[in-house]
């Protein structure tokens, strides 16, 4: 387990125990903040969009080209956008802070 700080769509901050070794999406979906994750983590749907706190952005491996392409076409795209199914949670990023992006 690693700490994960999640800011929900109402701006409320939650500290949760995230599962290590799987994507952040798995934790978010179980915790029910409206992350649809329709394709189940196949990087095919862009319905698991989050913003990563700037302080953490550089500590994560950079997104692959297909993830970037999906992100850039979302209306809520920001430079710190990620697909949560493509971000692995590891002990090394315990305390990772993310916000759930608006539904589109």
């Amino acid at each position: 387990m690693a700490d994960l700080i999640v800011v929900d769509r109402d701006g409320v901050e939650h500290k949760v125990e995230g599962k290590v070794g799987v994507s952040v999406m798995e934790t978010l979906r179980e915790l029910d903040w409206g992350v649809a994750a329709i394709c189940g983590g196949m990087c095919s749907c862009a319905t698991c969009h989050i913003y990563v706190d700037d302080a953490w952005l550089g500590k994560l491996p950079a997104p692959q080209p297909d993830e970037k392409e999906l992100l850039q076409e979302l209306s809520g795209y920001q430079p710190n956008s990620r697909l949560s199914c493509q971000v692995q949670l590891e002990e090394s990023v315990s305390g990772l802070r993310v916000s759930i992006a608006p539904d589109e």
């Binding site: 979906r29 649809a36 394709c39 983590g41 196949m42 095919s44 297909d66």
Partner: protein
């Protein structure tokens, strides 16, 4: 809203309905009835990574068990709904219990279409819809075994790719002259045929199965042209039949599925239907359609939940779907049933291209192969009916966003 809501079927559509009903403020008794022994799980990985043994089974659940507790949802698994009494507004289950409802939500999905040729009952002949089905298939998989797959739709081809990856010798038998012929253009079929061939899959088109041979286990497949294919196992993927009987026997109107309006309501205003089991009007395509996709199950669940709770919401979405075969990401948006021309963006030889389906200058559907940006942009271009410049559309150096005719 208070009272009783009962959901029949426990899969993609139902899991989302539980979530959406509570979000819309339903505070009454919520019961979920499903005839499979498990909580709702994801079906798409079944023919993909789960079949190939690359998917952690614990990740199959759509929501953990704690979710249903938190949502105060009574879950009745391994139970079949057998009859709807519309006058009394109650639902009878196969254990004799009766559940009253103020709103009934049918999410009964579909069942596999069975092969009816001689020998279809032999052991070793599999179908693929449920987790139990795949676990049965997996028990029969071993490198070097001969798998014959009947049907070259998405599921058949995904199975072929997964079996080839595992080192089986794979033959696919398809009645039509090309693969995925119901849903994609010939250009797309050609690409996927070549990909399967390059992975050693023996694809036989224009080939109709006449019988299965062997006993008690299947040992081969005989085709109507007399050709024979030895088999250690067979997987039949020839489509699904919507589960309409529960509704039909109660006198609810059906039309290629349980017929609903744009509010997901059936001919009985207390009964709603969502997901693979229902047909619904598509305002965008101006006709009645029945879809088999996770996204549709998800969106209709949200729509039905809102309407049950008294918030009028219309279902008007552009459908989309994905399929993974080998390393190729196929993303499909829109319906490609009514088009007059196809324009390719990019060269299939590069394995990254899109196939655009047009009616006049309007994009009605797009298949993106390893081309996620086109998929995302196409959703908007289709929904907004943007008139396109076909020359620019065919130039992959011009982004799809820039391919609109000047206003």
């Amino acid at each position: 809203m208070e009272g009783n809501v009962v959901i029949v079927g426990a899969s993609h559509a139902a899991a989302q309905a539980v979530d959406s009903l509570r979000r819309e403020g339903f505070s009454g008794r919520l019961v979920l009835v499903g005839d499979e022994p498990e909580l709702p799980y994801q079906r798409p990985p079944l023919s993909k990574k789960y079949l190939a043994g690359e998917f952690d089974p614990a990740r199959l659940w759509i929501r953990p068990a704690s979710f249903y507790e938190q949502q105060r949802c009574e879950v009745r698994l391994g139970r079949r709904a057998v009859a709807i009494d519309r006058e009394r507004q109650s639902l009878a289950l196969d254990d004799g219990s009766v559940l009253p409802y103020d709103a009934l939500l049918l999410a009964t999905g579909g069942r596999v279409r069975p092969a009816t040729v001689p020998g279809a009952q032999l052991a070793g002949i599999h179908y693929l819809r449920t987790r139990a089905d795949v676990d049965g298939i997996r028990a029969d998989l071993a490198p070097g075994r001969r798998a014959v797959i009947v049907g070259a739709g998405y599921i058949g081809l995904e199975c072929a790719a997964s079996c080839a990856k595992l080192g089986l010798s794979v033959t696919v038998l398809e009645m039509a002259p090309r693969v995925m012929s119901r849903v994609v253009a010939p250009e797309m079929s050609a690409f996927y045929q070549a990909e399967h061939a390059s992975h050693g899959v023996d694809l036989r088109l224009n080939t109709t199965v006449a019988a299965f041979e062997g006993g008690p286990r299947v040992s081969g497949v005989v085709c109507s042209d007399g050709s024979r294919f030895p088999a250690d196992l067979v997987i039949v993927g020839i489509g699904i039949v919507p589960n309409v009987e529960l509704a039909a026997e109660a006198g609810i109107a059906c039309d290629n599925g349980i017929a609903v309006d744009e509010f997901c309501r059936t001919s009985d205003p207390k009964v709603y239907a969502i997901g693979d089991c229902c047909s619904h009007p598509s305002p965008h395509y101006r006709r009645r359609i029945r879809l088999e996709s996770v996204d549709n199950a998800f969106e209709q669940a949200k729509t039905a939940a809102a309407n049950i709770c008294g918030r009028e919401v219309r279902h008007d979405k552009i459908p989309w779907f994905w399929s993974d075969q080998y390393d190729h990401k196929l993303q499909i948006v829109g319906l490609s049933q009514d088009y007059d021309r196809v324009v390719l963006r990019g060269d299939p030889a590069t394995r990254s291209f899109s196939c655009c389906y047009l009616k006049g200058r309007e994009l009605v559907a797009l298949d993106a192969v390893n081309q996620p940006r086109d998929f995302m942009v196409a959703k908007k271009v289709i929904a907004e009916r943007v008139p396109l410049d076909l020359g620019r559309l065919g130039d992959p150096a011009v982004s799809l966003k820039e391919a609109g005719l000047p206003a």
